[in-house]
Subunit: 450 residues, 2 copies
């Protein structure tokens, strides 16, 4: 399989075909293209072109395309569709995807759109899903699943399952519930393939099944599913009733979003932005961290101003402030990154105290090696051993403190229930710059006996 | 479901039970614990305790436990097992997991272990998998899959499938091949549930199926599977023959590893390490980047040394070098992170030129806002408008250059086929420190007319 590649030529051709209203050519050109790839194309079109294509193609394909589009593009297209047209798209979608789209619609048209959905069961399921917090298992789950009652015989069961399976894209597991809809266990598809059709459900079902509560956080669901290699997990409500099912494709999205978010926070980008977003969106995501850095730099300048006298006599000390600040920043980012990642992967065991002692030892080891190199360099360059020694000893102290801050702050935030990822990147580099420079001058002053 | 939590008490209890050789208590204690959780426990035991537990528990559970263990722990345990015992574990595993373990065994015992595997088909499949590069689709795939021939009738097909399904944990799709084993299409499980058993294969199969070549990179497979929401993908060799299948659980691991690697590179950690690794491993992963930072800092010191004369007259300029270096670093990291992430997600469209112009505009916008703040601060603090102006204008120039470097370097590396993630973090901050300081002094000199 050759991955689809959106070229400028293809895009120009499609824009031309839309302008010429060459419907037949467009349909045959896009017929073999996967909906995820058509979504990529539509993301590059303007609102009118995009709407034209959506109205032209079959609703079983366009509904899937809609779920894959960038949010602003989708919003633009839906604004051009009637409530009936939107309802037709929702009809084709699984309840979780449909509910996500309904949640984005302007409040005033939601009721009308829902009332236009012909399949009333489907409409009811979508409305049910709307009441769950987006940031919970309930907000991730779909209503589509295959479930059988433990008191059914296999014949009823197979008949019911066939009907249910029609609405479910991927069956995965057959869940077994009691007469109050409480989750009891599961039947595996493999069992279905390999067991005689005469058997009774209560005799063959597996009474153990992993499930998550409807209020569980998506990151927790992701951890459970990836740790236990699950491809689908049933969701139960507060009294154990089976209310939905989460599939691994949604979890893959959660894992990628979490990773992207942590990566962006570490780089000092505070909102979910992409390279193709507007300059304004990118500025809003980046500027606050830069302003933090500016304040930090101003604080460092004020601190250094306090040492101006020393500075006139030992100019060489000042030449190394960027080095000291950079090392403090680098060590801090390394320490905090490894803690943030460890927390995300549940790898951090033992007490904060042990962790800090380990980081101190690590910083000491790195610090001594780096200080030795710096000592040699400065001594050779400036020919003044005492100053070189003062700078090097300060470097060790700065690295140890930077490692301490980088380790302690994310652990502390995590204990307080705050996302430790915000403590990486600019936050750590800025605070370490300030502490680093202060420690540097204080220790240098001490060693040089000024 | 309450997620399993490994407590110090539980660990102490297990260690005690092992010491007392209380086999029955251990078995009943661990019976209900998921293998992934038992692996977590064993990771905390010493080699002898771990081996004791592995020998005690059933091999259908211990084989799965082995795949989940940390590599060094697994190596220790396998070193304590005989070739026959290892073969028994491999017997229970899917071929991909078994091949991964065999690949870790010392070369001299591989042949003996393989020869002890009773199921010769299984042994042959494992050996087949050993020849694929770990970093390819072939290295990820398993041999377990369900395939039927297009010229079979449904009765033969169902009979064969039942036999095959016995060896396959999750069926997903039924692949259709021709008489040369070339992949032709698929039968969906849903079709199987909803189609009459009288139908002929060639009439019902779907002649379109996504597949990947055996030499494809794991990251590409991950992109394809997550973009198209696939839960399993067949792997074909150079002439189109079906040779294996990759399932989404392996891809989830690939996605997490990729994200972890990029995150660590951005933080200046060059090898795959975890918070619980030894101080030595952590040092090897971190020290090289710190040495790079040290060289950068030394270069900055030399550059600043060249401006010593200016510095005696305009001391205030020097107070702001940490601020300038920090801003250059922050902007560089932001720009490079968004490019690296965009490249990883295939979000980057258009030419490098357009991208650079956009980043310049963004840097200009941010730069002007930040420079205005800095101008105010410095003017008020030092009461010297011209100096404040010089520093602020320099800041704008530094931010623009930093944005340029941060955008250009990863795009350039990517074009050259080098992982752009290495250009984030310490690499960008160090080079931006140097360029930033140089630009700062040059422009300040110009503005002040020195």
């Amino acid at each position: 399989m050759t991955p689809f590649k959106l070229t400028d030529e293809l895009l120009a051709e499609i824009k031309q075909l839309i302008e010429n209203q060459s419907d037949a050519s467009l349909q045959s050109l896009l017929e073999e293209v996967h909906f995820a790839d058509v979504a990529e194309i539509i993301n590059e079109l303007n609102k009118e072109e995009a709407t034209y294509l959506i109205k032209l193609l079959d609703s079983d394909k366009t509904s899937d395309i809609l779920t894959e589009l960038d949010e602003d593009v989708r919003e633009g297209i839906l604004g051009n569709l009637s409530s009936k047209e939107i309802a037709e798209e929702l009809e084709e979608l699984d309840t979780d995807d449909a509910a996500d789209i309904v949640a984005e619609l302007p409040q005033e048209i939601v009721q009308e759109v829902i009332s236009e959905i012909e399949d009333r069961e489907h409409a009811k399921d979508i409305v049910d899903l709307l009441r769950y917090d987006e940031n919970s298992a309930g907000g991730l789950m779909a209503k589509e699943l295959v479930k059988v009652r433990e008191d059914w015989d296999v014949l009823t069961c197979v008949k019911e399952m066939r009907a249910q399976a029609e609405n479910v894209t991927r069956v995965h597991s057959i869940y077994v519930v009691d007469n109050e809809d409480k989750l009891k266990g599961r039947l595996s598809l493999k069992d279905l393939l390999t067991t005689s059709t005469k058997t009774h459900i209560s005799e063959v079902y597996i009474p153990k099944v992993d499930s998550v509560n409807v209020n569980e956080k998506p990151e927790e669901v992701a951890k459970i599913m990836s740790k236990y290699d699950l491809e689908a997990i049933p969701v139960i409500d507060e009294i154990g009733r089976l209310v939905g099912r989460i599939t691994i494709d949604d979890i893959v999205d959660v894992i990628k979003e979490e990773a992207d978010k942590d990566y962006q926070l570490a780089a000092g980008i505070s909102q979910d932005v992409e390279a193709d977003d507007s300059i304004w969106d990118l500025t809003r995501a980046r500027l606050p961290w830069l302003i933090l850095g500016l304040f930090g730099g101003a604080a460092a300048a004020v601190i250094m101003g306090g040492f101006e006298e020393m500075f006139r006599r030992y100019t060489v000390l000042f030449l190394f402030t960027p080095l000291i600040a950079a090392m403090a920043g680098n060590v801090g980012v390394q320490s905090s990154a490894i803690i943030v990642q460890g927390l995300a992967n549940d790898d951090i065991k033992g007490s904060i105290g042990d962790r800090l002692i380990k980081e101190m030892l690590l910083a000491l080891l790195n610090g001594v090696i780096l200080a030795a190199l710096l000592l040699l360099f400065t001594w050779i360059w400036k020919g003044d051993f005492l100053t070189a020694l003062a700078i090097s000893i300060s470097l060790i102290a700065v690295i140890i403190v930077a490692g301490f801050i980088g380790t302690f702050v994310p652990l502390f935030l995590d204990k307080r229930g705050i996302d430790p990822a915000i403590a990486t990147g600019p936050f750590i580099t800025t605070s370490n710059d300030i502490f680093g420079i202060l420690i540097y001058f204080l220790i240098a002053k001490l060693v040089l006996g000024i």
